[in-house]
Point group: C2
Chain length 341, copies 2
């Protein structure tokens, strides 16, 4: 019922609390005899150090914070999984908060985590975040910060990303290679860096191949919980606006699947009439018909990488050896399936 303390062990053995503590941690200045006695009794009494006291003393909580825009999302839930798994390996626990794509909430969550005195924070920014003082605040407190996916280049912290621009370039190039000449783009919201980069990759691929860039072929979607419907709506609008588009590079798979559903409904054949490349390699992409060509975005891996980096920085700060921010870029690949020729 009442947890065992060092004091109880000490009294039982008629030695001091200090010696018990040191015995359990294998300090060299405790004899083998007493070490054995202490350890034995600790085991039988099922002694577990009081985390609160340890935290207070060591000034660390062996806990990290994670702030993401949405939890119910295939990519983000994969990232969670990666972070939690990796953290557990190193004896860290993860507190998860959801910013709901709101800057205000994000600020509040960061505050909560700092108050909780987590050892570090991993974050993927809300779409609406344009001010970064709350993030700089984290760094000023001497806490490591790692951003992933939706990052802010301006914040001097480590980041885990994929080369969105390159991946988008590859995707668009693939459409061009399969004889598409008029290629549209369904892009994400305006602010997030990855949404911008994917757009730039798309544009560059067009120009590098001597194709004109036509802004009227770029459609925006918020990519929130209405993603599928946004895909349908954009597809509908596209068919109204342009009858000559033969390929689309779409910011994310769910939107792409929405678009494909709409095309299917309207008798537009994929890939014969319009070829489609998605982004993220959601598991449903390999399962619908036609299967969706897409860019693989390795969520679990990104989560693991983010924690690994955070862990290194936590250790570094502990040793007063601050570390320079590092941008870790994970490999992606184009996965060719039936939605392109």
């Amino acid at each position: 019922m009442n947890p065992v303390t060092l004091k109880q062990i000490a009294e039982e053995l008629n030695i001091s609390v200090a010696t018990v503590s040191k015995a359990l941690k294998d300090y060299p200045d405790v004899s083998k005899k007493t070490k054995a006695l202490v350890k034995e009794l600790a085991r039988t009494l099922n002694y577990k150090p009081n985390t609160f006291a340890v935290n207070l003393r060591t000034r660390e909580s062996k806990t990290i914070g994670l702030v993401i825009p949405v939890i119910v999302h295939h990519f983000f839930s994969n990232v969670i999984k990666g972070i939690v798994a990796q953290a557990e390996k190193k004896g860290y626990l993860v507190i998860i908060l959801q910013s709901n794509e709101s800057y205000e909430l994000e600020k509040k969550q960061i505050d909560l985590l700092l108050n909780q005195r987590v050892d570090g924070i991993i974050i993927s920014l809300a779409n609406g975040t344009a001010d970064f003082t709350h993030l700089k605040h984290v760094l000023e407190m001497g806490k490591p910060l790692v951003m992933f996916d939706k990052i802010a280049k301006i914040v001097p912290c480590s980041k885990v990303v994929i080369d969105d621009r390159k991946a988008a370039y590859l995707a668009t190039q693939h459409l061009i290679d399969t004889r598409c000449t008029r290629i549209a783009h369904f892009r994400g919201a305006l602010l997030p860096q990855n949404s911008i980069d994917r757009f730039l990759g798309y544009k560059k691929a067009l120009l590098d191949n001597g194709l004109p860039y036509d802004p009227s072929l770029v459609y925006i979607c918020e990519c929130d919980d209405r993603s599928f419907e946004e895909g349908q709506e954009n597809a509908r609008q596209l068919l109204k606006d342009h009858n000559d588009v033969d390929g689309i590079f779409i910011n994310t798979d769910l939107v792409a699947i929405g678009a494909m559903t709409e095309f299917n409904k309207q008798g537009v054949n994929v890939p014969e009439d319009i070829a489609i490349v998605g982004f993220s390699n959601w598991f449903m992409s390999s399962v619908i018909s036609p299967t969706l060509t897409t860019i693989n975005q390795p969520g679990v891996q990104m989560g693991k990488a983010a924690f690994k980096r955070l862990y290194r920085e936590i250790k570094a700060i502990k040793k007063n050896k601050p570390i320079a921010p590092k941008v870790i870029t994970l490999e992606t690949e184009l996965i060719k399936r039936e939605s392109t020729k």
Copy 2:
């Protein structure tokens, strides 16, 4: 940089630490004058109580633990969202761990959380969990425990569930009402209570309507990350085994969608040849073609209810007014769509 402490405020104002603490907490034995002074200085210095010290003193962490079989799952990620949101409202943070459907891991996670001295634990059991001593251990430590979805009836703790048996009965009845006479069932793994209950509801509906129960019409799937493929495989097998089945009640939407895909591939029409009812109301169910009739399983609501209950029990235990376990059953509904006539 270095967080402000009560001591610093006290020295600045030439009063004692005790008075500062009491002033900030509006104790009646501090004059309005000093209260104002202290609060003013605390604000300008941006004082935040050291959580570690507060935890140690109050013996609570304002943190709860959550153990779920899988994070990357539409239902569970919805539950996470509900729990995290509700917890935040009450000033609680949530530590999430994944048991990976492994009993061994689940036991370890519980241990981790108890060591961390969380104020309570919410859990959905792994499929393989058949021994419950680790859960009873939580209760013996005087920590409240709430189970949801995959529960163990035998453990005397509060539970948040839906009436799986009734829901399954409704689903099957709906198939019968739409003139299905030979109805198969794709059930979940053998151990989980909800998988058993859904099977029993299916069976009872058949018998109540004078239809024979045929065990060969019941197919098992693990409902792990291969759910979609399991749906396809079971559908394939079903077509081989029986040519007279005209309806299926399927344990979960993703499996159902896999099955529908397979039927579609083989030229079997849904709902004309075979009608299908799924379970859980995954958002894709309303989006595929044909849209899937299903049972709504309110993940976010269940999460919220689970935390609310846990919160009540935490408060009760704090006041030494232990509370009797309660089973909270949330309402579900049959959502009729195109996959049934």
